[in-house]
Symmetry: C2
Subunit: 210 residues, 2 copies
């Protein structure tokens, strides 16, 4: 059975050295304070190191009931029994990733523009990551920022759950959430801070009252 | 059912730019001339590009009956329905790779010394790659060369099929094959040459008469 998921505050892991405490502790603190889903984005280290870290995250998050998504590496997602994988436009095609993941795991796909959205087989996708909304410094080779208006337009074109990503923080969250996206994804807003729990609370406070 | 495999002349793909013709044509020529198994080692390009190339290799090799092994990326091996995967000491642990691959695909593991051999769960492994026997320039971050005597010693310690790798060519093949390994793996000996078929024949001629 596919796990339920809540995109409202989606933490994407930054490089471990960008945290002021061990990665696992930083993620644990963020989840305790209200992060609803975690993506392990690993862009350095050996595959064995990524596996060990992903496994530790898996063990940390499972008792908390917060889904773990693995970025790019579908084999790593399967290896640690993650709740799903997130892929970009230069990764395995979505239908291939779905075939490997099976029906019981989540599949997220990054989309930057309408052409990519139209080219994606949405029938195999559980949610979309749309962005970068603003310029991001936490991802190598990120596409140029699309802005809030383009995000809103893409949001209107799909009925799938959407998480916005790219340069997001508490100050920018209200205008982004007004586009009707289901949540916001943050990287450096929860890594390069001393008070992670406080930063999570600020991000949650930026949501319009339900 | 697990595919049968013959390690006697094992081609590991080099960077495409090191071939004097398109990678697919080079591999096709090598296989036509007598290469018995092919490993796709992709260490640059996006995951989508690696997928496209691996898929093209798969289509090229299947009618020829020559197994395709994918290096490191177990998801890529599964995605293109390769015959197996080959992993190193810094990749997923062998039992995890085996679980993802299932029983029907081959799993090769690289081993450099006796400690690594002892630490490997050989029950899940189909063959070992032992080396680098000589200094190699075709693999980034390769371990120091172990030499022919160490290869012979490692060969004696296992009953698994073994392919020797690292700086191998037709001149060095006879002394390497005398250690009792099942075959030799080559990279630059079949990439940086004009006459690939001739190079394959020279490598095959280096085998002691059966």
């Amino acid at each position: 059975m596919k796990p339920s998921f809540d995109l409202s505050l989606y933490l994407v892991t930054d490089k471990p050295e960008n945290y002021r405490k061990p990665l696992l502790d930083a993620v644990g603190e963020a989840v305790a304070a209200g992060v609803t889903i975690v993506q392990y984005r690993a862009d350095s280290g050996s595959r064995r190191e990524l596996y060990e870290t992903a496994l530790a995250l898996r063990q940390r998050l499972r008792p908390l009931g917060v889904p773990l998504i693995v970025n790019d590496c579908v084999d790593l997602a399967l290896a640690v029994d993650a709740d799903g994988a997130h892929i970009g436009q230069n990764d395995l095609p979505a239908p291939v990733a779905r075939r490997l993941l099976g029906a019981g795991r989540l599949l997220g796909v990054s989309v930057t523009n309408a052409a990519q959205l139209a080219a994606t087989d949405l029938s195999v996708v559980d949610y979309l990551g749309i962005g970068p909304v603003f310029t991001t410094y936490s991802k190598r080779n990120a596409a140029p920022a699309i802005g809030v208006a383009a995000l809103a337009e893409l949001r209107r074109r799909t009925a799938l759950p959407v998480v916005a990503i790219g340069g997001l923080n508490a100050a920018r969250a209200p205008e982004v959430l007004k586009t009707g996206v289901n949540g916001i994804a943050v990287v450096s807003a929860l890594s390069q801070v001393d008070d992670i729990a406080g930063a999570v609370r600020a991000l949650r406070a930026a949501r319009p009252a339900a």
